[in-house]
């Protein structure tokens, strides 16, 4: 095998890191070639992904023993919103993934309730994907 010099290895590693970052950045872009099984179209897949991400955060919060007692009402409000958002996605999905008005409104509500929960219980961990989904729907709600 060809022996690489230090600078070449360094350059290859930096290129690798750039590839990983760009791949991760594109990971939420659904196309006809990477639709999850059962998804009607890319919008259906993306909404499901968003609902699953935010719902997953809320599910984690219900299991988190570190959530302070005063934050529990916020957890339960987010639970109600997460269930409503999932039901809204099911309705959207079963109707052929056309009109997303009610689903978007449900996700805006859920993102707002999660944001309130995070403020009430700052110790609850959340990842970058959850944060991105919260910001996305808070911005939609602001318009």
């Amino acid at each position: 095998m060809v022996q690489l010099r230090y600078q070449q290895v360094r350059l290859l590693l930096l290129t690798t890191l750039a590839l990983i970052v760009s791949t991760a950045a594109c990971s939420h872009q659904y196309t006809k070639t990477n639709l999850p099984a059962g998804a009607i179209n890319s919008n259906d897949a993306q909404f499901y992904d968003d609902v699953a991400t935010l719902r997953g955060f809320v599910a984690g919060a219900t299991q988190n023993q570190d959530v302070p007692a005063q934050a529990k009402p916020y957890v339960n409000k987010a639970v109600t919103s997460a269930n409503a958002a999932y039901d809204a996605w099911k309705a959207y999905h079963s109707a052929g993934a056309n009109d997303s008005t009610a689903l978007t409104a449900a996700l805006v509500q859920l993102a707002g309730d999660i944001s309130s929960l995070i403020s009430a219980a700052p110790g609850v961990p959340y990842d970058a994907k959850t944060q991105a989904a919260i910001v996305k729907y808070q911005q939609k709600g602001a318009h």
């Binding site: 791949t23 990971s27 070639t33 999850p36 099984a37 059962g38 639970v79």
Partner: protein, 63 residues
Amino acid sequence: MDPQTAILVAVGVLIGQLKQYEQTAEIAAYLKMAEAGYTNALAAHEAAKQKVDTTLPPLQPVA
């Protein structure tokens, strides 16, 4: 194979090949970052390919 899968496979092979050059602290640190990033990207990619599920049970409130 979709383009994203192809890129991830190529990155995995590249990281495997570059591991033999883990001779300095800087290269080791880059490799560690690349491996961690690759693991996360792979997990996200696989999660995105899961089927949509219309049968999830409702979340339950906390007491």
